[in-house]
């Protein structure tokens, strides 16, 4: 896919698989969120056969703003758009994600919920926990995105072609009776630890 190639060239992303191999089994990739390019770059870092089964979860307010964004998000990478302003109990994002996963698909999520501008990662929102609770069979794969925030920082539209690095780490699962905060902390640490490796 041309766009995937452009994203790869632009971000100069090198991709590392640390203690995990690409696979078409059902997974939820969760990553730190630093740039609008995140979803696109993580998605394009996957090998094509995995990519065709994987949908990024992204914010509706951003990706529906212009015609081009709408085209890219729906036609190219088939994003699952979540309305951040209207999260309701009966139609929660978790239900939407479970529906989207079905029996074959995988998702890319950003549990920080919004782009992070500081040097440290933000706290994870609880969505990942509820997702894991409802679908304990999913492999939860931590993904660390390094340096991409410098390629396209918040509020900028012209990217700078620096080199970035996408690392995929070994999957984790929700332990039996694991408290929510412990799990979220463990997941966040898994992403953070990938930075050093």
């Amino acid at each position: 896919m041309a766009l995937a190639l452009v994203a790869r060239l632009l971000s100069g992303a090198s991709v590392r698989w640390v203690g995990i191999e690409p696979d078409t089994c059902q997974r939820v990739y969760f990553a730190n969120h630093t740039s609008h390019l995140d979803a696109l770059v993580v998605w394009s870092a996957l090998p094509p056969r995995v990519r065709s089964l994987t949908r990024p979860v992204a914010a509706k307010d951003y990706w529906e703003k212009t015609r081009l964004r709408r085209y890219i998000s729906t036609m190219v990478f088939d994003a699952l758009l979540i309305d951040r302003n209207e999260i309701k109990v009966h139609n929660s994002p978790i239900d939407l994600m479970i529906k989207a996963l079905g029996d074959t698909k995988s998702l890319i999520v950003f549990p920080e919920g919004h782009r992070n501008t500081g040097p440290e990662m933000g706290e994870f929102k609880s969505g990942l926990y509820y997702l894991a609770k409802k679908r304990p069979d999913l492999e939860l794969v931590p993904v660390h995105i390094d340096n991409l925030n410098r390629v396209l920082p918040r509020g900028e539209f012209l990217p700078v072609p620096l080199l970035s690095c996408i690392s995929f780490g070994p999957p984790l699962w929700l332990e039996v009776k694991e408290p929510k905060m412990d799990f979220l902390k463990r997941a966040r640490d898994a992403v953070r630890n990938l930075k050093e490796r």
């Binding site: 100069g12 090198s14 590392r16 501008t117 340096n147 410098r150 920082p153 918040r154 900028e156 012209l158 990217p159 700078v160 072609p161 620096l162 080199l163 690095c165």
Partner: protein
């Protein structure tokens, strides 16, 4: 375009032959599994050989295609080197716009001006205009923290990776006094690259053979005064031996090789200092699988502009 003269073919062919012999020796050493040989050193040697093959064939191919191809190739290398440099240097959000212009305006423009042989413009574009533009643009962005440091980092990256390196293809446009040199400048560029690379190797060998007094232990523990002197003398001899391929008299060729060697040495040490400061061993290690372009270019970046100006002053 003029067809390359016999000397050019001899020079390129000779280098290829030496490389072929070195590759065969390396293959042979690999199969022998001699316990006295350091496998890491052999591995490093093989990697270097591969890089040289790539460099040599790219240079030979572009020289055959023409000047414009060579300028474009060096432009792309500069772009990539600058990418590595800036990736390793922390900048702040407010530097983003300045960086954008550095990558997409100044870098291509420098090489376009080299391609049009606009010496009066390309020799001042970056040292005057870009060097003034960068801090001004950062100031407009309104973030004063570590201001001088941030400007200096971007300026240094642009100067070393783009400005200095662009003098290598600029050699192709020099109008050498001797009339038979028209269209034969590729040999001068080849001479530069060859002497820089061999200077690195010779210095390394002398360091290994005789090295005792380390020059700057905090920066590079393997570079010694013995290696420097041995490398200087042997590189000068190599330059003399190659005088037939250059517009220089033998003793001038020796002097030129010496100048190239000293500049290359300074480049290697300077880039080592930057790497130490950033806490990395190679520019390539942060980004796995990319290998550092800058690691191979550090000496040529320093040698190219000096060699260019000395040649321009005395031979055009």
């Amino acid at each position: 375009m003029r067809l390359p003269q016999d000397e050019t073919l001899w020079l390129v062919g000779g280098v290829m032959a030496v490389l072929a012999v070195a590759t065969l020796v390396a293959r042979w050493l690999k199969t022998r599994r001699d316990s006295r040989l350091n496998p890491a050193a052999l591995q490093a040697f093989n990697l270097r050989l591969n890089a040289w093959w790539l460099m040599c064939s790219a240079l030979a191919a572009t020289i055959l295609i023409g000047q414009v191809a060579t300028v474009i190739m060096f432009g792309l290398i500069s772009f990539w080197a600058l990418r590595e440099f800036i990736t390793l240097t922390p900048t702040r959000m407010a530097d983003h716009r300045a960086l954008f212009w550095v990558f997409f305006l100044f870098t291509p423009l420098q090489y376009v001006l080299v391609g049009f042989d606009e010496y009066g413009l390309y020799s001042v574009l970056i040292p005057v205009y870009a060097v003034l533009f960068i801090p001004a643009r950062i100031a407009i962005a309104g973030d004063y923290r570590r201001f001088l440091e941030r400007s200096a980092k971007i300026q240094a990256g642009l100067m070393i990776c783009v400005y200095c390196l662009s003098y290598a293809p600029a050699l192709l446009y020099l109008k050498i006094k001797q009339p038979e040199w028209e269209g034969q400048n590729a040999r001068i560029l080849f001479f530069l690259v060859l002497v820089v690379q061999m200077g690195d190797v010779l210095q390394y060998l002398w360091d290994r053979l005789l090295g005792k007094n380390v020059i700057a232990p905090m920066i590079n523990r393997s570079r010694t005064w013995e290696g420097f002197l041995g490398g200087a003398v042997s590189t000068a001899l190599l330059g003399t031996a190659l005088w037939w391929a250059t517009p220089f008299e033998p003793w001038v060729a020796a002097g030129m090789a010496l100048v190239i060697f000293v500049a290359g040495f300074a480049g290697g040490l300077t880039m080592s200092a930057i790497k130490r400061d950033r806490g990395v061993k190679d520019y390539g290690t942060l980004i796995e699988g990319h290998g550092g372009v800058l690691d191979r270019l550090d000496s040529i970046c320093f040698a190219a502009p000096i060699f260019f100006h000395v040649t321009r002053y005395f031979y055009t």
